[in-house]
């Protein structure tokens, strides 16, 4: 039987020759990811159901990356990290990245592949909706809740409904004013925030395979904003180079069978797409950046698992080099590795950090920061009803802090161009 990539991965994990979209199957888990927000609850569920002396099913398959509430004085947030610390010590979990130490990383979805935990053909569950980011590495990756994660900790398996696959093909060459963020905002605008609910979203075509791994991660990352269960991209040499540079673990490359059945297929011509923005308060509230030139802004925010990777800051630096920002602009590297790269990567002889400082930006520490609001002392948080252009992934009411705040989602190029003019700006105006 011809299967899609997602079906093949789930069939292997279910120890079956074949599975079909719509079936419920129990799958063996290759990696379970959790962080400081959902980890303590997950651990509570685990102990409650498996007993206070229980051991996790495989300490080598559990990855714990605190990232959400790190640089805050909030006592409960700090207590939650202590719970993680105690748990990893007791359980012998090695893949733990402790805040305040050399090992601290930052945003889990970017740190996970940096540390070699994203591998083709595997099944990854994480207690965070953007776990789907790792589909860029050709694996099945999706978000789950605390109870499910507590179950996985003890049992090493979980039930899933095998999803149908929607295919999104990008043809032609990527113009210099577009980024992966524009592509995914475009798709979400087309199909809506529930357009892919329960389904896999496969990104394919020459345009996608020309993207580097970070840009591919951006595509898969926002699949959940269309309701998608997982995003996935067939592994190619770009994928294999990225994976093999970070781990020696063996893995199996899985691709669609010829003749596999898809839910639907949409084809986009890259030459016809434009820099795209999602207006408040929904990621599918799409407009072209040039249509919003009269929208005045108070703030720009460049960061998160969606828009805080090295590629994102290189793009922003291309715009900001030699220019001054007109509004408060926050730079939040996703991980400590990205933060390091701000001091080593250069555009036209200057480091990214130099360019951002000269442009008047504030540079924060590696973490989720204001992407989801957080405690009041969070870097970049909207504590007033401000209007912000942001490279993050969600613009629901209150997402970045203030309930009456307005968040416009855009690519790092568009966010940087808008930071310079103080209004929403198509990067073609300044590039």
């Amino acid at each position: 039987m011809a299967m899609t990539m997602t079906e093949k991965i789930l069939a292997r994990a279910a120890n079956r020759d074949a599975v079909r979209a719509g079936e419920n199957v129990w799958v063996d888990v290759d990696v379970l990811l959790t962080h400081d927000v959902c980890g303590p609850g997950t651990i509570g569920v685990f102990y409650e159901n498996f007993g206070r002396d229980a051991k996790v099913w495989d300490p080598d398959k559990v990855v714990i990356i605190p990232d959400h509430y790190i640089f805050t004085a909030d006592a409960k947030a700090r207590r939650n990290v202590d719970i993680l610390r105690e748990f990893v010590a007791e359980q012998g979990i090695r893949h733990y990245y402790d805040p305040g130490t050399e090992r601290y990383k930052g945003v889990c979805h970017v740190a996970l592949p940096e540390e070699g935990h994203a591998r083709p053909g595997e099944v990854l569950f994480g207690t965070d909706s953007h776990t789907c980011t790792a589909g860029a590495f050709g694996e099945f990756a999706t978000g789950i809740g605390n109870t499910e994660a507590g179950f996985v900790l003890g049992a090493g398996k979980l039930w899933v409904k095998v999803p149908e696959t929607m295919r999104f093909l990008f043809e032609g060459e990527m113009p210099p004013y577009l980024m992966a963020k524009d592509l995914i905002l475009h798709i979400i605008g087309d199909i809506g925030v529930d357009g892919a609910t329960y389904r896999a979203m496969e990104f394919a075509g020459q345009g996608v395979h020309a993207l580097n791994i970070e840009e591919r991660m951006t595509l898969c990352n926002m699949g959940v904003e269309a309701g998608g269960k997982n995003g996935i991209i067939a592994p190619d040499s770009v994928t294999l180079d990225a994976v093999q540079a970070r781990t020696d673990k063996p893995f199996t490359v899985v691709r669609n069978d010829p003749g596999a059945t898809f839910h639907s297929e949409r084809v986009y011509d890259l030459a016809r797409l434009e820099p795209t923005v999602a207006k408040p308060h929904s990621p599918d509230n799409r407009a072209a950046a040039r249509e919003l030139r009269d929208v005045k802004l108070d703030r720009a925010y460049i960061g998160s698992c969606t828009g805080g990777k090295i590629t994102d800051f290189l793009a922003a630096a291309r715009v900001l080099k030699g220019r001054r920002t007109a509004i408060d602009t926050f730079i939040v590297p996703a991980t400590t590795r990205v933060l390091g790269a701000l001091h080593t990567e250069r555009v036209g002889g200057e480091t990214l950090a130099e360019i951002f400082r000269a442009a008047g930006c504030q540079i924060g520490q590696a973490s989720c920061a204001a992407c989801l609001g957080g405690p009041e002392d969070t870097f970049g948080r909207l504590n007033e009803p401000l209007r912000c252009i942001s490279t993050t992934n969600r613009n629901f009411p209150g997402r970045m802090g203030h309930k009456e705040g307005e968040v416009f989602l855009a690519s790092p190029l568009t966010a940087a161009a808008s930071a310079v003019t103080g209004r929403i700006t198509d990067p073609r105006e300044v590039l």
Binding site: G44, G145, T147, G227, G373, P375, F396
Partner: protein
């Protein structure tokens, strides 16, 4: 699982995301600690913008300022209920606030899974739009087995979609009880 649920309805619109159900700054409470778990009920639905809180009029907070949760047992929503972050604190918060079932046109999958696997509430799907049909405060009754909703305030009845695949998990209580009964978990 209860076969019958009767109480007041609380009505919301489309795309109610998990930040509206329980805003991110309350996520530092640990649900494994009972006094902290209770707080999720106190702050349930506190992120819903005032104009959309308790339709059709709005400005009817789910939990009044300084008040106690527990007035509503059934939440009615539109499309894509529970979208956004994976936080299980969302169905947990509704459960802590006394909600036993949500009835929506469609759900975001993680919210749906969490509701069922965690045994917090019954997520019913409705083939017809009930936002606009049912008003916040209406006295409604759910026949869970027959997947039927009766609005005693108006006397109208509505057929909901059958629970299907999730029924055995709801009957068992949660994913642990279900897996134990099925022999998946020893």
């Amino acid at each position: 699982m209860q076969d019958n649920i009767r109480g007041r309805a609380y009505v919301l619109g489309d795309d109610v995301d998990t930040d509206q159900i329980i805003p991110a700054h309350y996520l530092t409470y640990n649900p494994a600690i009972p006094e902290e778990r209770r707080m999720f009920g106190v702050y349930a639905l506190s992120g819903v913008p005032a104009a959309r809180a308790g339709l059709p009029e709005g400005r009817r907070p789910f939990v009044p300022e300084g008040g106690e949760p527990g007035e509503y047992r059934i939440v009615v929503g539109g499309r894509n209920f529970g979208c956004g972050s994976s936080r299980e604190h969302a169905p947990l918060a509704l459960d802590e606030a006394g909600v036993e079932a949500v009835i929506a046109e469609s759900y975001a999958r993680i919210f749906f899974r969490n509701s069922v696997n965690g045994g917090y509430l019954i997520p019913f799907e409705t083939p017809t739009r009930l936002v606009g049909e049912i008003r916040t405060g209406d006295d409604v009754e759910l026949d869970v087995r027959e997947h039927r909703l009766t609005n005693h305030t108006t006397g109208r009845r509505y057929e909901l979609s059958p629970l299907g695949d999730i029924l055995p998990i709801l009957e068992a209580g949660d994913i642990f009880a279900y897996a134990r009964a099925a022999g998946t978990l020893k």
